[in-house]
Amino acid sequence: MRPFKYQSAATVKDAVGAVSKSEGSKFIAGGTNLVDLMKEDVERPAALIDVSRIDLKQVRSEGDSVVIGAMAKNTDTANHPLVRMNFPLLSQAIFAGASAQIRNMATNGGNLMQRTRCVYFYDTSMPCNKRERGSGCGAKEGLNRMHAIFGWSDECVAVHPSDMCVALAALDAVVKVEGPEGKTRDVPFSAFHRLPGDDPTRDNELKNGELITSITIPKNKFAGNSYYLKVRDRASYAFALVSVAAALELDGEKIKDVRIALGGVAHKPWRARKAEDYLRGKAPKTEEFEKAAKLELADARALEHNAFKVPLAERAIVRALRQASQ
């Protein structure tokens, strides 16, 4: 690994100041993703600004929302009573990711910012537009079983690997960020991560020097009817082939509101808005779930090795909705 400078930041201001001042410096939180990428020579920061000690670790209720600190650990977040009570979907999604040890280190901010697991991205001797713009996409005509079926471009077919983010997308979370000069802004979750378009080097809309400080989740009525389903190659400790965060608000025999987000299928957590639109006002029945899922997957475009994700995603949506409705 290349030599780098290391500095611990006590406040948001310090951290943002340090990163925006020096070219090539990066925040580090739990380090579970960044350090691996540095060892592989994929990330080559000149300096690391450690944000893990900044006092942004609480989970608290604020008006009609729950606010989750960016530096809170994934494990602590998933176990927090406010999260378990209000958003069991989020707890489930976090626990479906990585391993206990990694979740104990990983922070919420880092989870949003984790980079793709595309094997070409990790291998500096291979072409990859995300790592090196213009070098080509190794996966598009290569090993792409794990890759996207929605929203990909010729430049990049990678998927976002997070489970937590799939639940956050479904829950309409808002990402709070703070940039230089104390400027803050709120980014709706669905606008936080990007599709690759012609610049896959950018995973999200965060600007250089901006730090995620918290994630706000509006309270909702989904807690009784939600389910996170993750289909993977082994029972634990594997990234999703396809995952589904499903949440229903039932009103007697009708679906009053519904949220569906998919993981493992696109460069960002994929909100299944077509399926959602179809289901609002319908009965929570398997046939309706099947129609909605079909509608959503109609736009899917498979690659050479991942055509299975289309029927898998369709079935996973149906299963997750059925589980949620029970």
């Binding site: 690994m1 290349r2 030599p3 020579d41 697991r117 094997v119 070409y120 990790y122 291998d123 001797s125 291979m126 190794g138 005509e141 290569g142 090993l143 079983r145 289909v231 190659d233 082994r234 029972a235 634990s236 400790y237 594997a238 990234f239 082939l241 299975f308 029927p311 898998l312 079935r315 996973a316 149906v318 299963r319």
Partner: protein
């Protein structure tokens, strides 16, 4: 028997869990330097330019070895040796070694070595590689004709991807020189093999090289062949005149040693409507490198397993621009069994005969290949015991006929077989006048529990409490023993320990038998035994002396022997095999393609069980390995570049705890007086052999889908 056959915890267990057990690069040596390997990023061609100047300028960098400045060795071998020329034979080939004060400095400098290649297009795609027929036994009978004439036939093709051992401990070595004497702590399955290789490479006598491998964090065959890195560590140590530690990263492990080859097979079975096999043609092909032929007995195991008058087992090699494969747990056998045992299962549905029944119909009571009797074969008993424990009689025959709520349930079976081999081995024993014994042999213990079982055998045959026995291994200063591989160690080294103990007794008898006035005056060797610290007469246990008193009487502080055991001539008249019957239950969530192996019963007949505890662990390990092979493991290659891509443990999946449910093991003990005096067969590979097929067969029974390409991942069931 007092110790043999009783459960005993690992004698090295505490050392292992407390960290006292040292692995190859953990030894404290004075002022070590660290090596880091630079690997080729292309699979075929030549190194046209290599510039180390930038890297050399970095702080801490001591030396960079490349093909331009490294020692050229004269060793005659087709195995890959590092830094010998500018030719690139596979992607990931070591092409430079950076040596620095710290591992981090070496790794950083490795990034700055600039290399240019004259690239050529590699060929790694198995489907368009030329097949070369490899030598094998001639067909038995007239397989093709008889197949054509059979009333019931099936024919199917199977494939298995490249798989890697992925032991916990990465391969590595610590090397240092004292004058022209070389010491290497290596992670090895055979210290003698490494010693020979190093002595030839450096042109120094074998006696000048000491190779030590006291603990091995798993190897599974990956350290059986001499790997290239011990030489690099030794060479670097010579160049920088300091001890050098060299360890591979997990990613480097995928090309730092061999792997289970890509395997494709076609099985054709012709049978009578009664189920009797008439003809089997089991054809196989595995990949190898361009510079070395690696072959396995993939297609041959069935020839001795089933009664079938006509049998052919042609086998081919596919030359690829990849490193040479190597042995990986149950090499050939597990690959072959996946195809053959799947095909037999397929035939059972064709014939509408229960798959256990079908195997019993074709049971071989003597070796169909040679006509020789088996030294012992309790496979039938394994079927009986296993089926009973599993509850096989409740199986409904038709696929998709068993359910647990929304899940489909499938029950499958398969047979495993592995040779009961033995090789010459030497052991040394010293019995001291404090009643303790030091026992040693230059074998290794890669995890099965060799330290423990050899302690048990020594305790039993010396009549000494195991706590007073120290068994040492893994050092070329100890008497020569075979490498730990092929499940031969307990049979070979155990026999040597047993034989040496007999010689100890002879010496003890000699000390007192002519001494008038002692209890054992006039004793004959044949009529003595060692029990509970005593030497006594078998015919009259009251005529007994404490061993320490025997030594005192003889006026010596200790007695010591070195003894070599060899496979007996008697064995040649028999076929010696170990067998097992495996029963598997899977539950399948069909619409999502999720398979859970909810229950495994493994009934095994492999001679005498020395330690039921470590034997059970071996079997469990085999089952878990089989789950990985059946459902998860695959090293994926991008053939455009000839490069392995899933080279880390996030992308190369092995089972996690959540993938493993109930695993029950049952041993049908065989009293086999032919294999060796202790009746030991070996089991480390056997326990895996039938598992992948049994799982695939259970998946078929559950779903009606026959997956013939491993691993059976969710996408293949959709």
């Amino acid at each position: 028997m007092k110790y043999i056959g009783k459960e005993m915890s690992r004698v090295d267990g505490v050392a292992k869990v407390t960290g006292r057990a040292k692995y190859a690069v953990e030894y404290k040596v004075n002022d070590p330097a660290y090596g880091y390997i630079v690997q080729s990023t292309v699979a075929k061609g030549r190194i046209s330019k290599i510039d180390t100047s930038k890297a050399e300028k970095l702080p801490g960098v001591l030396k960079i070895l490349t093909h331009q400045n490294a020692l050229k060795v004269e060793e005659e071998t087709r195995q890959f040796r590092a830094l010998q020329s500018d030719t690139v034979l596979f992607c990931g080939q070591p092409i430079a070694l950076v040596v620095a004060d710290t591992f981090e400095q070496a790794r950083y400098a490795a990034n700055l070595v600039e290399i240019e290649y004259a690239k050529e297009q590699p060929s790694t795609d198995f489907s368009d590689t030329e097949r070369v027929q490899s030598r094998g036994p001639a067909p038995r009978g007239k397989p093709a004709e008889e197949l054509a004439g059979s009333p019931v036939k099936i024919e199917a093709e199977y494939s298995i991807p490249i798989e890697h051992h992925n032991p916990m401990e990465p391969h590595g070595a610590t090397a240092f020189w004292e004058g022209d004497k070389l010491t290497v702590f290596d992670k090895s399955q055979g210290v003698y093999g490494v010693r020979g290789h190093l002595s030839r490479s450096f042109g120094i006598p074998e006696g000048n090289v000491n190779v030590i491998s006291l603990f091995v964090g798993g190897a599974f065959g990956s350290s059986l062949n001499v790997n290239y890195y011990p030489f690099l560590a030794a060479l670097a140590a010579r160049e920088v005149k300091r001890p050098v530690k060299l360890s591979l990263t997990r990613r480097q492990m995928f090309t730092g040693h061999g792997y289970r080859p890509y395997t494709t097979q076609k099985v054709s079975i012709g049978a009578e409507s009664t189920g009797k096999f008439r003809s089997i043609i089991h054809e196989g092909a595995t990949n190898t490198s361009t510079y070395e032929d690696f072959t396995e007995s993939t297609t041959r195991f069935g020839r001795t397993l089933y009664e079938c008058p006509n049998y052919d087992s042609p086998y081919y090699l596919l030359k690829t621009d990849l490193p040479t494969p190597t042995w990986m747990r149950a090499p050939g056998a597990v690959s072959g069994a996946f195809a053959l045992e799947s095909a037999i299962d397929e035939l059972s549905y064709e014939l509408k005969i229960d798959p256990v029944e079908l195997r019993l119909i074709n049971y071989a009571d003597k070796d169909p290949e040679t006509g020789r009797p088996f030294s012992s074969k309790a496979l039938k008993e394994c079927f009986t015991a296993g089926a009973k424990k599993f509850g096989w009689e409740k199986r409904k025959f038709a696929p998709r006929s068993m359910r647990d709520g929304d899940l489909l349930v499938g029950w499958g079976t398969a047979v495993g077989t592995w040779g009961a081999f033995q090789a010459p081995a030497t052991a040394k024993i010293r019995v001291r006048n404090d009643g303790s014994a030091l026992v040693g042999s230059g074998t290794t213990d890669i995890g099965p529990g060799t330290y423990t079982v050899c302690t048990i055998i020594a305790a039993e045959s010396l009549g000494i409490d195991p706590k007073k026995i120290e068994f040492v291994l893994g050092d070329t200063e100890l008497p020569r023993a075979p490498s730990q591989g092929g499940s031969i160690t307990t049979a070979s080294v155990g026999s040597a320990v047993y034989g040496a103990a007999g010689e100890i007794r002879r010496k003890l008898v000699d000390l007192v038998a002519r001494k008038e006035g002692t209890a054992l005056f006039g004793a004959s060797f044949e009529d003595t035994e060692l029990v509970d610290g005593n030497l006594r007469l078998k015919s009259d246990a009251s005529r007994s002396m404490r061993v320490v008193d025997v030594l005192k009487e003889g006026g010596v502080e200790f007695v010591e022997v070195e003894y070599q055991s060899r496979p007996s001539a008697e064995r040649q008249k028999y076929t010696t095999m170990a067998h097992g019957a495996q029963f598997v239950e899977v539950k399948v969530d069909e619409s999502l393609g999720i398979i859970k192996v909810t229950r495994v019963v493994e009934a095994t007949a492999c001679g005498r069980i020395i330690n039921p505890l470590t034997s059970h662990s071996q079997e469990m390990g085999g089952v878990v390995w089989g789950i990985g092979m059946a459902l998860q493991e695959a090293t994926e290659i991008d053939h455009r570049y000839g490069k392995m891509m899933t080279t880390n443990l996030a992308d190369y999946h092995v089972p996690v705890a959540a993938d493993v449910f109930s695993v029950e093991t049952d041993f049908v003990e065989e009293k086999d007086e032919i294999v060796n005096e202790l009746g030991i067969k070996g089991m480390g590979e056997l326990c895996l052999v039938g598992i992948p097929a049994a799982i695939a067969n259970a998946v078929y029974h559950a779903t009606g889908k026959r997956v013939r390409d491993l691993p059976v991942t969710p996408d293949k069931l959709l």
